[in-house]
């Protein structure tokens, strides 16, 4: 293979006896998440770079706090380790570019005791090209593409930022999403705008949204077709998160699978309508902290109202999940608005202006 001897790759090379020896080398150096890795051979890494048209030394960004440069070569090595095929790499690269935007607070969210993970949501044609499956097990082991993309992002956090448990990663508990936390939106199964369009990107653009997120909180309500009653269950879960975890508002993701989604869509509700409803309903009185054992921090502010969302736009509604089951999920933010979700287009030209002003961030990731 022509790329096998790519002379531009500059990473240190190790010669190991076989596959097993490669595993032990990587585990011994703390370069894994505890699971076996795909050995990152020069041809495999070069193939990733070739797919997106990036030079090995292309700078994808600099981690803002510790000033760590992130190059395409290093990211591709970690992507190969995670099991990525070359076609997956553009998503990994764009997710990382989004995470390096200042508002994501990359150092804070990867080092915090709060123990969040990078939730990655994929929109646009690339979902179909890479075989991402947004239906059954959308938040679990749904498909190869989302499994390896989410894992690649985490491995790169470990290896490029030295974010290891007990080191920079001070997570008290963490959660299973720290292995991989990635899903695609079921754009073919909904009438709603894709998340990327709701956040300002044009139709037809492939995109990645990243959010520093806690574990999913699953809800169930299969006993109504009324959108307000369905969404009241989501609101209750958001309020529970506010009281039991963090009262402060931020970006929330809600994942609505097809069974509940069809009831809401049939009633003519848009994602915007859902955001406005939950903006009003998902809020708690500070004094209610006393009902969950946190009375000591209520102080003289018992009547203060804390909305889960600073505005309806802070809700990220994602259509995903299997066709049957009156379930849904609320995915809370790591810690209020200290971090913000970032959406970036895949393959966008960095010199091209956005179609309109907005809060959405756009990144670039090859062609």
């Amino acid at each position: 293979m022509q790329l096998a001897s790519n002379p531009l790759l500059t990473s240190k090379v190790y010669d190991v006896a076989d596959f097993s020896a490669a595993q032990e080398l990587f585990h011994a150096n703390g370069w894994t998440d505890g699971l076996p890795i795909v050995p990152p051979t020069p041809p495999a890494v070069a193939a990733c770079l070739d797919w997106v048209g990036m030079a090995p030394d292309q700078l994808l960004g600099v981690e803002p706090v510790r000033a760590q440069p992130i190059t395409a070569e290093k990211l591709a090595i970690n992507a190969v380790m995670a099991g990525c095929l070359p076609m997956h790499f553009a998503v990994v690269a764009t997710a990382w570019q989004a995470m390096m935007q200042e508002e994501y607070l990359l150092h804070g969210v990867t080092s915090s005791t709060g123990g969040c993970a990078a939730l990655i949501i994929i929109n646009g044609p690339i979902r179909l090209e890479i075989g991402a499956s947004p239906t059954f097990n959308a938040l679990g082991n749904s498909d190869r593409a989302t499994a390896v993309i989410g894992r690649a992002v985490r491995l790169a956090v470990i290896n490029l930022l030295d974010v290891r448990p007990g080191g920079i990663d001070r997570s008290t508990l963490g959660h299973p999403g720290k292995f991989s936390y990635c899903l695609a939106e079921d754009e073919e199964g909904t009438q709603w705008l894709p998340l990327s369009m709701a956040r300002g990107l044009p139709a037809g653009a492939s995109a990645v949204t990243v959010m520093a997120a806690m574990a999913p909180r699953q809800i169930m309500n299969e006993w109504t077709t009324d959108p307000k009653e369905i969404l009241e269950t989501f609101a209750a879960e958001m309020r529970a998160n506010q009281l039991n975890y963090s009262i402060y508002g931020g970006n929330y993701v809600i994942v609505i699978p097809k069974q509940l989604r069809e009831h809401i869509e049939a009633a003519g509700w848009s994602k915007r309508d859902i955001g406005e409803f939950l903006y009003e309903r998902a809020r708690v009185r500070r004094g209610d902290w006393a009902t969950v054992g946190k009375g000591s921090v209520v102080r003289d502010r018992a009547d203060r109202i804390h909305p889960a969302l600073a505005s309806p736009e802070h809700l990220l509604v994602v259509a995903a999940g299997g066709p049957a089951g009156g379930f849904g999920a609320v995915i809370p933010p790591w810690m209020g608005s200290k971090t913000k979700a970032v959406t970036a287009a895949i393959g966008a030209c960095i010199d091209c202006g956005p179609p309109d002003a907005g809060t959405t961030r756009r990144g670039e990731a090859g062609s």
Partner: protein
């Protein structure tokens, strides 16, 4: 047959800052505290403040709190550090 693999770590490390000179004594000196603002820091820094003044003769203890407990200290706090002889950046929960 051997297998050739690449190092996944960030080998291109940025050269970090240099450590400031260590004071040989804290007597008569000014010590700054940079708190992350969490509840647990109050008791810790209150106790440390007393120890520094009473047991080590520190002249002044300056308390500052970051605006975001998970982000680096604000620029105006970093600017103040040059006026201090020592700083304690505590992590507390």
């Amino acid at each position: 047959m051997t297998m050739r693999v690449l190092d996944p770590s960030n080998e291109s490390r940025v050269v970090g800052g240099q450590l400031a000179a260590r004071p040989t004594s804290l007597k008569g000196k000014t010590v700054g505290f940079i708190s992350n603002g969490k509840e647990g820091t109050k008791g810790y820094f209150t106790h440390l403040d007393r120890m520094l003044r009473e047991e080590l003769g520190v002249a002044d203890v300056i308390w500052r709190t970051k605006s975001n407990y998970s982000a680096p200290a604000d620029a105006h706090i970093v600017d103040e550090i040059r006026k201090w002889h020592a700083v304690v950046a505590g992590v507390g929960d």
